[in-house]
């Protein structure tokens, strides 16, 4: 009996779980889990206002026009040779344009570009001079615009994967950063976005 009296009474920890539950529910409600994902793009800098805007002349074979109409139809091709195509064809067409595998006269020129690698060696890659120009109208849907942007990104990513596979033996996303930068330099993502055309009715 004497030993029992000296013992400190135990604190009841039964409600600890309830307190923890309360906190847990608070955090569940008050927080968001989703990580933001998106298509990353660099906008071209605004030309200074006093500078005369000259149209940069690009050879026809180096230009691939993609026009999205208000109803979501896609027209793509070299200037003057555009045709209405399906979204599913766009990636293949864009890839063909970026790569120009047969060195065709109608597809972009290539110039050899020297890229310095991390180990000091140089890598010469025939860089395509092609530019993909994306045009929309003011009433084009954002969804179709994103879908086209997505297809173009996919074309570039697949080309980069191919190049990375051939040069470094691994997929683009699995390369270390310096090699990834080298591949990005060899296959730059050249997508130019013009202001939307005002189509008056």
């Amino acid at each position: 009996m004497a030993t029992d009296k000296r013992k400190v009474q135990e604190i009841n920890a039964g409600s600890m779980a309830d307190i923890a539950f309360l906190l847990l529910i608070f955090f569940l409600v008050a927080t968001t889990m989703n990580t933001d994902t998106g298509l990353v793009r660099m906008l071209p800098p605004m030309p200074p206002e006093d500078q005369k805007q000259e149209d940069i002349k690009v050879k026809e074979r180096n230009l691939f026009l993609v026009l999205i109409s208000g109803s979501g139809n896609i027209m793509a091709g070299n200037p003057g040779k555009q045709e209405i195509i399906d979204l599913r064809q766009l990636k293949e067409k864009a890839k063909e344009f970026i790569l120009n595998p047969m060195d065709s006269e109608d597809l972009p020129e290539k110039t050899d570009k020297e890229i310095e690698l991390a180990d000091g060696s140089k890598w010469v890659y025939p860089e395509s001079q092609g530019v993909i120009s994306l045009q929309t109208t003011r009433d084009t849907n954002y969804q179709s615009y994103i879908m086209v942007q997505n297809e173009l990104t996919r074309a570039f990513n697949e080309v980069r994967d191919d190049v990375a596979m051939r040069k470094f033996g691994a997929k683009f996303s699995e390369l270390p950063e310096e090699q990834r930068n080298a591949v990005s330099k060899a296959v730059p993502q050249k997508i130019s976005e013009a202001e939307p055309r005002n189509i008056k009715k």
Partner: protein
């Protein structure tokens, strides 16, 4: 004592719940660490477009958001259903983007300013007109790194 013994022998002993608080605390800490506080109230409704080639936005502190979409249901009585631009906690027009970008840039340290990213969260049925106006304004504000927020899908 005899009664006690009888009881104990008949049924299973009760499961100890002493470790339950520890388990709950573990879940609690997981949520505390892995989540961020919701920092602004949404005044527009949007359903993000879908894409397959999405990239994660890495440093959240460098990202500023521009929301474009229809006013949320509670606000529709007052503001109608035409798409609006939300900056911080109120509806704004394209003219306010310049100030918004400047204010956001001031919040960052000098070294981080170059890598500031604008995340454009626009509803999938928005017209390109308003998006392009925003983009032109961002070019003027020299905030060139942008991300078109879209949710990951598996493609067609």
């Amino acid at each position: 004592m005899a009664v006690m013994k009888k009881k104990g022998n008949k049924g299973l002993p009760p499961i100890s719940t002493a470790s339950l608080p520890d388990v709950i605390f573990m879940i609690l800490f997981f949520f505390m660490v892995s989540t961020t506080m919701r920092d602004q109230e949404l005044l527009v409704r949007y359903k993000l477009p879908e894409a397959t080639e999405v990239q994660k936005l890495e440093k959240k502190s460098l990202v500023s958001y521009i929301h474009i979409g229809q006013p949320s249901l509670a606000m529709q009585a007052k503001f109608g259903t035409a798409p609006r631009i939300q900056l911080n906690d109120s509806y704004k027009t394209t003219k306010d983007i310049l100030d918004f970008v400047a204010a956001e840039r001031d919040k960052l340290s000098e070294a981080d300013r170059a890598s500031m990213t604008i995340c454009l969260k626009a509803d999938q049925s928005t017209k390109m007109g308003i998006v392009t106006d925003v983009k032109q304004e961002l070019r003027r504000a020299n905030a060139l790194k942008i991300s078109y927020a879209s949710s990951k899908s598996l493609g067609y």
